[in-house]
């Protein structure tokens, strides 16, 4: 099979468009399965060098008729995820909505940005009778605008297009490694509300900022193929079946989205508070959806053609009960990490912080977790606080820190918790692994975090295991990490959203119907596993030592008695688990390395 790639040299403005033969099934499936093979061919010692490519690609089912086939992947060596040797690690970040399909409809499956532009630009990728056309445009008018403002500016100039843009954080890439990439949504373009989707993790927006590419326009008419009955049946099963119930509204037979994680987690006191130190004081209940909803207008909205409607958008409620001004999209992670985990138990303040992070274009997980570290440090050092002296519960100072991170004023925050904690010599309560801040799940309950390859929860499905099954045995954890947990990245190749819960059988059928690809479930999952192992191999190549695959030391040294599970992640447990996990992965990594050499 062939795929279409544009390689853009930003310095010379040379553009090469070519049909590239797939080397293996990972290349065919796409996403990080392909981009990490490209990254593996490069020697990159710093994220902000011309040698570090930014790869923007799609999955084989992006732009297909399969519901949620909307993913775009941004891959590069990350400024945030870096080994103790200082080498950047390969990273991808994914976002939904219509940019990916529009990119594909220009005729491209992949764009590689090489080098660095000599001045800020935005790129316009157009479909034409002669094939994809790529233009460079000066971006002076976009400088300093928020992500949303950039997208609105572009919307007014490019019809039938979608957009990827960075915000002020990406423009201040040297001081903000956690900058994200915003992707426009249909709802945003029509309503004018700030409703981007995000490729948030790992600082892909910072890499784009380094390259001086402030935005990318993908302009093409929609090219939606006729819906096959087999795909219609799959879509029906996805949107009405159990796999997506969690994300649907209650009146549509769902559970109300990720925001509703608060309730099951709080049963165990697993909702992070005050830098991942749950207190068991019941305060997380203040952010339960049922408690918040009466004071606001909450509307479930969706990505392009998706029937799941997972976006829980919070608006002001007018006096007559109707919808007022848009405030923010509430998902569990940003709500928790920008409110409860900062000691701020107020939905309006949470909305303000989420909105601010979005406008600046940062990863809300990384910035929230870094701010919570600052607050924790200041509580421990009341006589020698850092930065603005923020402590838990201080919304105004939290807001200052977020703004300072996204505008380059406070690189201590913007460069992430790993660097900050190392500079202060207090790493024991810095909630990250390998430089990527933890999402809103307790590390005390997830010894699988270290083996996540691109963020703690979306690339290793172990974050909810203790709440789900309560199994704390070594056998269980070693098996979980090395089998089911890693297969969670399947959809990061295919171009689907994990919220769809597409079954393996449906995925295989979709590949057959939409891509003409005859693969078995076993072949597909073997490709996913190879892609995962390749990522581990790349981490090793970038200098990660086994000692870096660990948890913050306070998990071991300061068990939290408020968690309703006996502390099981002891040093002894983790050491043995580590041995067991590496005994599985090491031979596969060695085999991968041998294959690359050959």
């Amino acid at each position: 099979m062939l795929y279409a790639r544009a390689t853009i040299d930003l310095a010379s403005r040379d553009v090469r468009i070519e049909e590239v033969p797939c080397r293996n099934l990972e290349d065919v499936l796409g996403g990080f399965g392909r981009s990490f093979q490209i990254l593996a061919e490069r020697t990159v010692t710093h994220a902000f060098t011309p040698e570090n490519p930014l790869i923007i690609n799609t999955g084989v089912l992006t732009a297909s008729n399969v519901t949620t086939g909307l993913r775009t992947y941004f891959s590069a060596y990350s400024p945030l995820k870096a080994s103790d040797k200082g080498l950047p690690a390969a990273m991808w970040s994914a976002g939904s909505c219509k940019f990916g399909p529009k990119l594909k409809w220009t005729g491209l499956d992949e764009v590689i940005l090489e080098g660095r532009a000599d001045a800020p630009v935005y790129l316009v990728i157009r479909d034409s009778e002669q094939g994809p056309q790529i233009a460079f445009e000066p971006a002076g008018d976009l400088l300093g605008l928020t992500c949303h403002e950039k997208i609105m500016w572009l919307r007014d100039r490019y019809k039938d297009a979608h957009f990827a843009a960075i915000g002020p954080a990406g423009e201040h890439y040297e001081d903000c490694y956690m900058a994200s990439v915003a992707l426009s949504t249909e709802n945003q373009l029509k309503s004018g509300d700030d409703k981007c989707r995000w490729a948030g993790r790992g600082g892909m927006g910072a890499v784009m900022g380094y390259k001086r590419v402030l935005a990318i326009v993908a302009q093409a008419p929609d090219k939606i193929a006729k819906l096959k009955p087999e795909i219609r049946d799959i879509n029906k099963a996805v949107t009405s079946g159990p796999g997506s119930r969690k994300f649907r509204e209650k009146e549509k037979g769902g559970l109300g989205g990720t925001w509703s994680n608060y309730e099951p987690l709080e049963k165990f006191h697993f909702v992070p508070q005050n830098n991942f130190r749950p207190k068991g004081d019941g305060k997380p209940e203040l952010m339960f959806r049922d408690k918040v909803q009466p004071d606001f207008f909450v509307k479930a909205e969706s990505c392009f053609r998706c029937g799941i409607s997972c976006h829980k958008n919070v608006y002001e409620k007018n006096a007559d009960g109707t919808k007022g001004a848009f405030l923010a999209k509430f998902d569990y992670e940003p709500v928790n990490l920008l409110s409860t985990n900062l000691g701020i138990d107020d939905p309006r303040k949470a909305a303000a912080l989420i909105s601010l992070v979005d406008r600046l274009g940062m990863d809300n997980i990384s910035v929230g977790t870094t701010v919570s570290y600052v607050m924790d440090y200041n509580e421990r050092h009341p006589d020698a606080p850092i930065l603005n002296g923020a402590t838990f519960g201080d919304f105004e100072k939290a807001r200052e820190l977020v703004e300072g991170a996204g505008t380059g004023r406070w690189p201590e925050v913007g460069r992430g918790v790993k660097r900050l904690s190392q500079s202060l010599g207090e790493t024991g309560y810095a909630m990250h692994c390998k430089g990527l801040e933890f999402p809103a799940y307790q590390p005390d309950t997830n010894p699988g975090y270290p083996w996540a390859i691109a963020g703690g929860h979306m690339s290793m499905a172990t974050y909810m295991a203790v709440a789900l099954e309560g199994n704390t045995s070594l056998d269980y954890w070693a098996t979980l990490i090395t089998t089911r947990g890693l297969l969670f990245v399947r959809d990061d190749l295919l171009g689907l959203c994990k919220f769809a819960g597409v079954t393996a059988d449906h995925a295989v059928e979709a590949l057959k119907q939409e891509a003409g690809l005859e693969v078995t479930t076993a072949e597909m999952l073997a490709a996913v596993r190879r892609a995962f192992v390749r990522a581990l191999w790349l981490e090793r190549r970038q200098g990660y030592e086994r000692t870096e695959y660990t948890l913050p030391s306070e998990v071991f040294d300061r068990p939290n008695p408020n968690l309703k599970v006996p502390p099981f992640v002891t040093r002894e447990f983790f050491s043995e688990l580590s041995d067991r996990v590496w005994s599985v992965f090491d031979p596969e990594i060695d085999q991968m390395a041998d294959g690359v050499k050959a």
Partner: protein
């Protein structure tokens, strides 16, 4: 027989099967039959106290049941969904 449908969380443990038909006169007995057929699913469906796992939610023909309702009678052809109340994103 009622049909029990579930997510990948369950399916990946039993060879990719995403639904099963089970004998059962109630939702609870149907779920018991499921875990008798597939013991590997027991810790997902049932808590250590033998009651429904506190983070699982059960739907009968698209209607969400509270835990106390899992004794509800079922008919052949009824659809029972069991899903986790905990997913990230």
């Amino acid at each position: 027989m009622p049909k029990i449908r579930f997510t990948n969380l369950f399916a990946e443990r039993i060879g990719g099967v995403s639904s099963v038909d089970v004998p059962g006169a109630t939702v609870e007995s149907s779920l018991r039959a499921l875990t008798e057929q597939h013991p590997v699913l027991t810790p997902l469906v049932w808590g250590k106290d033998g009651a429904l796992n506190a983070v699982m939610v059960v739907f009968l023909n698209d209607r969400q049941l509270v835990a106390a309702e899992i004794g509800t009678s079922v008919e052949p052809g009824d659809e029972i969904d069991i899903v986790s109340a905990l997913e990230g994103g």
